[in-house]
């Protein structure tokens, strides 16, 4: 699936750049990122999960194309891969920026029905978008806020009203997190395909990712596909 999607992305990609040339940006930095979700959510007891994603970025960043927020399809466990929930959900976004401060982060929150069919949150997680162009694979550890006390835990389980973050974006920042208690739950794997442009022009040399890295990632996937 990976190859075909990468192929899909290509024209899109060039389009973005031609657009860039056509317009005169006062910002001379354009980043495009293509993010491919392959979530492997490791929970034997959970099924039928879907995922919401959004980007968190600093003041100097602006999305130029693609969706900032989105929601994936609901996915069920496959018969082959026992514990994995695979979304294979492509999302693409382009950001432009003038300043590396506030580098975008991908915030992922996973939801799914509980025993009683209530839609509850199964995990929050965030990761910075990789800096270097190329292919990256990231594993985001997920966590959920814990109820404040035991009775509440019970009632929230019973009523399907688990504690949730007022804003999922809170997981991308550190402020205020000290008041919360969380429990870790599973992981989400995200595969990134990053392209950058004009980074060097602005004096930021992120450099290409080492070939070895890419190699290992692809080989990892190839084994997985089998």
């Amino acid at each position: 699936p990976l190859v075909s999607i990468a192929a899909n992305l290509k024209p899109e990609n060039s389009y973005t750049f031609s657009q860039y040339r056509a317009r005169v940006f006062i910002y001379s930095e354009v980043k495009s990122r293509y993010v491919l979700f392959v979530c492997v959510f490791q929970f034997p007891e959970y099924d039928n999960l879907y995922c919401k994603y959004c980007f968190v970025y600093g003041h100097d960043w602006a999305p130029t194309s693609g969706l900032e927020e989105g929601i994936t399809q609901i996915t069920c466990k496959g018969s082959q891969s026992s514990n994995k929930l695979i979304w294979n959900f492509p999302l693409e976004t382009t950001f432009k920026s003038t300043n590396p401060s506030g580098w975008p982060q991908l915030v992922v929150s996973v939801y799914g029905p509980d025993v009683f069919g209530n839609d509850v949150v199964r995990g929050y997680g965030a990761t910075h978008i990789p800096f270097t162009p190329g292919q990256h694979s990231k594993t985001i550890p997920m966590f959920v806020p814990e109820p404040t006390w035991r009775l509440q835990k019970f009632t929230s389980w019973l009523l399907g009203r688990r504690p949730e973050y007022t804003d999922p974006k809170a997981v991308a920042q550190g402020e205020g997190r000290e008041v919360t208690r969380v429990r870790s739950q599973g992981f989400v794997n995200v595969s990134f395909h990053i392209m950058t442009k004009d980074m060097k022009k602005l004096g930021y040399d992120t450099g290409p990712s080492s070939p070895a890295n890419t190699q290992s990632v692809t080989s990892g996937w190839s084994t997985e596909d089998q």
């Binding site: 960043w61 003038t98 806020p145 509440q152 009632t155 504690p163 205020g176 084994t223």
Partner: protein
Amino acid sequence: MASSGDIREKLRKKRRALKETLKNRDEDDVQALVPSTKMSKGKLQTTIKEPETSEEDPGETLKRTFRTQRERKKRLLEQSSYQQHEEGGLEEISSVQHRSEDEESADQAGEKSAVLSRPPTGSLKGRSSKILHSPGSQHLDDLVTRRLQEKLNAARSKGESLQEQEAPLEPPSRLQGLRDRDTVTRFDREFDLDRARRHDDPLTLGPRIKFREAEKRTEKDLPTSEEAFNFFTFNFEPEPQDGAQKLGRKRHKQKKTVEVDQGEEGEEEGEEEAEDKEVVGEGEDNQDENENQDEEAPLVQDEGEDLFVIEQSSHDFLEMKKAEYVGYRQLVQRESELLFTPSFRTVPTSIKLPENMKPRYLEDEGLYVGERPPVSLTNENILENRILKMEEGKKWFGDDGRIMALPDPIKESSTRPPLFNMEDDLDPALQTVYRKAIKSKYANLYIAGAADPEGDYQLDVDVSGLIFSHHPLFSREHVLGARLAQLYDQYLTRQRNNLTGHLTDKLHGLRSALRNMLNIHGGQSLSQAMQRRISEYSLEVRNTRQLRDSEQEKDRTLLKNIVKMWKDMKALRDFQKYTNTPYKLYLRRENVDRATDEREYEEEILAEIVEWEAESEEDYQRKLAEYKEQLEEWKLWRRKQKAKKKKRKKKKKGQSQDDTEEEDEDREASESEGPVEEGPSKPEPPEKPELDSIEQQVREKASRIRRKPGESVLIPELSASGNITATELCPRAETARREDVTRHSLFTKILYNDKEVSRTDSRSLNTDFRVHFGQIFNLKIVNCPQSINLQVFEEIGSSCSLLAQVFIPVPEPSVLAGNAPVEEFEFSSNQRVMFDHEGVGSDVPLSFEADGSDRQTLLTSGKLSCCVSWGVGDDDVPLAPHVLQQGKHSGLARFDPVTYIGASGLYDMKKIGEWATQSRLDPNDPKNAAIMQLLKVASSGEVTAPEYFRLEQLQEEFNFVTDEELERSKRFRLLRLRNQEVAEFRNYKCVPALEREVTDKVFQDYEKRLKEGEIIDTNEHLDSHRALVAKYLQKIRESVIHRFILAKHHYLLSDLVIEEEIPSIGGAGPGILGLNLFKLAEPKRPLKPQRKERKKVTAQNLSDGDIKLLINILRAYDVPVRRPQINILGQTSQGAIQGSDWLCNQVQVRPFVEVSFQRTVLQTTTADGPNPCWNEELQLPFSAPNGDYSAASLQSVKDEVFINIFDEMVYETGVNDKDKGKSIHSRVEKHWLGSVKIPFSTIYSQSRIDGTFKVNTPAVLLGYSKERSHGPTSGYDILRGLSDGAFITLFITIEPQLVPGETIREKFDSQEDERLLQASEKFEREAAQGYPDRPCITTIIDLNGKTVFITRYIRPLNPPQELLDEFPNNPQEATALVARFVSLIPSLPDRVSFSGVCDLWSTCDQFLTLLAGDEEEHAVLLCNYFLSMGKKAWLIIGTAIPEGPTAYVLTYEQSRYLIWNPSSGQFYGQYDTFCPLQTVGCLVNADNVWFNIQEYTSPMTMSFDIAKAQLWKPFFSRSFSHPGLSSVQPEELVYRRTVRAAAVELQDRIEKILKERIMEWRPRHPTRWNRYCTTTLKQFLPKLELRGGRDVAEGHRHELQSLLGDNKITGFPLNLPFSEIRPIVEAVYSTGVHNVHASNVEFALAVYVHPYPNNVLSVWVYLASMMRT
């Protein structure tokens, strides 16, 4: 008993004879020899035991002990006395008696031992008695029985009569026998016993008695082995009956005194036991006891044992035996001997540390101490106790008195990255790979010769010995001696090198060469090359001479030092009167031929003088040349100067002269004017060298450094042939030192690669402090040699300490055993050692001077001579590794400096440098950074340690630009300002990437604001005072914000996590059961739906357009109605207006509501009548300033929501001609009727506003009348009428519901009494618990941020006198006027000014100075005024609409309670329905605070009688009385009179501004101003002010009507308190008067500013539009 000694002598002789005959027995003896020391000890002890053995009672024992001691002394002196002959007589006799028997036994013993020589003769102690079960034991038994038989017979026949008398005497004799046993073996025991019996005849008597008894009983012919045993054992027993009793006692003692030396005793007893075992096979306990037996009481013990045996042996008594029982206590005691139960009590630190040492806590000293692994205290204590029991237990304790422990190795979190157990997508790099195990013998060899499997290398370490150059045990003489020896060594070395000789030879050679050169060319002109060579030669001569001189000087000083040292030493020896060292210095004189010597000397001096002269001459010439050169220069310069001067003079004379050249020069001169002043000074000619002085100098020097001519050459010779004074002749201290020396011994450990591989024997320290080991160790090595380390240990007694370590370089492979020279390695130790004897110690200051000056500190040091070389195999193959043979090019050497230069060489910079260059270290490799740094430092000369200490030494590296650059760059500035959250940049998006893209425009606003800080903008404020106040407020605000900035970043769980509340069963709130039940019962569409609580949203995540203001306009009451438009002048009466005809045809009023907020205007549909009902919801978007939706920012939004009620009027403008009357054009006009304004901040903090509000209607509304449809027009109540007006019912909220700003969770400091604060806290807490919706305030925060008790704010204060003077006779009017005055002070909510929910209360004078404040300030001021006017007044803390929590004023007059709204100046009766006050929380006056504990909170339904305790809960009660709090208010308020002229000026400016603005708002239409009307209106305004804006409508309207005639006029006066111009403009705009677009419209605008005292201004704006009809 000394006589027994003689007998023993004889006996000994005899035995010797016997021994000779029985050699084989002797062999046995030797084999079983116990260590000789023990033996000798045993002897000693047996002598002591002598008398004790016979003891019957302790007293006698003591006596006997003394006696024996005396005897022993005598014996020691070898004085045989015959005094005690009578005593010993008996013994003598008995021994004689026995002698015959003895001879027999001797034979038998010989026979026996012949048999017995076979059994192994190991350590045959008591316990190993099993040996007797060997085949030989049977023979033994037989023998024993036989012998016993004989003995018994003999005993029976003899000495029967003697038994009673002799019994007491037998034990000493027996023990004498014991003592006599020089060699004790178990096999000659019989012999010994016989011997004992020989002269201790009585000994056998006792047993004999017993035995007889036994014999009687047994009646057997042959005694059994048991009997034999009994016989032997029993003979130690004098009195069995007594013994039994004593046994207990003695055993008790024995247990206490632990057996120390049970060697020989045990041996003997062991023998007995052995047999005991064999025979009896039980009685283990007794045996054990025997083993532990004390020497002091062996007899008693024996007694006990014998007793047992007797009883057991006699079968008759078997059943009589008591049950074997050992008392518990005994058992415990016995166990306590064997077992050690560590206590679990804490061990005091003093025990764990060396004496006189205080625990040292490294942690307290700031050192890092890792966390120990957790061990329970009990376990730790047990361990400590156990360790302390052990030998050297203290070494397990650290300096802090705790057991040494490594830090806890367990980490909290795993350091390994998590491996996600996904079956196959594990990174291949992380996959476990199986590899076959490799044989490890040479695997870890650094020795790279893999092709060299038989790499058995051998390293021979030869430790030959060591010599101390200083040792703590050195005496002073030793120190000197060591120095002397050192100097002598130095001398010898110098002598051997003979540098002086070499240099002298060289000098001679050079000189002759030079002479030759000169001679050859003598006088002829020399070629250039020659000359150069000569000068070179002379230079060389000079250098060599200097070198030689210095060497000669050194030689001389050395010699002098040696002599001095020797003298010192001699002096010391004389002083201390003994000699310690064998050093002796001879000075050998070698006479020289005086004449030749003198000649040589003179020659030398002459030669030197000549050279010196030549040199100085040369020097002089050179200097002279220099001088001349300088002089030339100087002269030149002088000349120039003079010339210049001349020229100048010339110029002055003839100015007409035009000479460019001259000018040039002039310029030159002027240019060089500067340096001219300090030009070259006249050089001084060099002095001519004084040749006389040269000679003198040379001679002086020669006499200093050289031997005088003719003086004999002194050759020192140091020999160690001196005599050392014998120890006996030395004083005590020295003796002690020497003894100490003998106690010391040394050994050396050999550590190879930091592992101990071997150690030398321990050798004692000689008096000359030389230790010779002379041992060679052959080390077979497998691992590459990295370090060879010799550790010198000093052993004193049993303790040994590390003295020094010597690192020995790994030898080159070519260094093989045999050819390697022994090298000396110096070592030293910095141990501090001090002695109380003559030893000088180490690291102790030492002085040889009498006055103690010139102190020196000597450290233990010495030389270890050893030799390390590679071994040589059998076939002369060197056992050195190949790699090492390859030498420096080996990989090993390249990578490991330690192997290359040896560990000791690591401190040698040169070597390291050498190594680094050879191994071609990569300087960029971070691994080598340390070395490169070191080399750099080393090569740069001395190592310069920085003299400062830096905390952030890496700071500079992290600074990505310099500070100046950071300041200069606009982009960085922008970024920083944004980061600092400066209001203008807080949400600045996309800071440009490049510097040039940042425009200055960005900063304009910000800089302007900064500038404004200083400059008062009078334009905006129209009044300098107010501008000042505004600045002041701004400053307070900043300080408050600063104070609260921390609190802002505190989060609560609810801010971040949404969590359902715990459902409760039933009850209020979202109870799970209750909710569900109620939900079931709830009607689907209830008739009176309740507003539901919505989810709250924190404001921080919002953006523009997210927030909407929801305004639900329900209905209005008493909207003014129109007057008939077509007015006939005559119609004046009200009745006529309400004529039926008009009513039918005209609509009374068609009101609609228009809401404007942030310039967004929305309106409802039009309704009919004075009581319209709209029930419409309007949604207005809200945008926060700067796009900042944080709570703080939202709170400071100053925008207000204007809710205006308009009357919609439709005019028919006539028929359109074109359409032939078919279409009617109508024009819609809207007429402002009134407005309600609600600040956004109120909505935000209240989150919802729900209620009926009074509509602010203008005092005069042209064309309208106030319709009173309800109630009687003539009031039963005048006050009721006052509160009349239009009302509107509204519901306002924000969508989504925003979380109002958090109250500051911070405690403020206070000057109040702590008790009061606690009481108030408690009061408020209780109030909040009991009545959560009733506000209760007891303490407030003043402007300084301090907590103040609320009653301090209430104090009667005088209102402005002018106001009181206004209505001197009408107190009611005056009251109203005061209220109006207060209400005219502009209102500014605290949360707007301080951007946080915190009520800061300013005092009245502050309030009047600031001229801005919250409701509280207004209320306090009003209350204080009322109090001063003699009214009963209270402050009401409650909630009102729309303000929310607020403060009102309650007065009591004419038996009625009046509630005053201080912000509007209006008052309400208690039962007024439209009173905005909704909840009364508490009442405050100067004395007390009362909290409302009634059922209801609404003023209408409650009682204000504070005296009733069940209705009002007072703060200060009897239990807690009022402490007499002084007021924070000033005693009196001072008012400034407002200048009328200023008011007039302001009035003009406002008018101007308003006119401009109105024209701006009508950009497409011309705005015409009707001057006539304006002046008319202007006249009205003061009147309105005078009346307080009440009821002037009628007269005014008529007046206007009459003035303006047929003009249709709409308009109204607006009254505002003056704060700024902006609210006035807003208010005018919101009326919408300017929106009349008719072409013929004319406007009239009049402004009137009425000044009240203290700059309180009332602004009236009369705005009217006119249309000509």
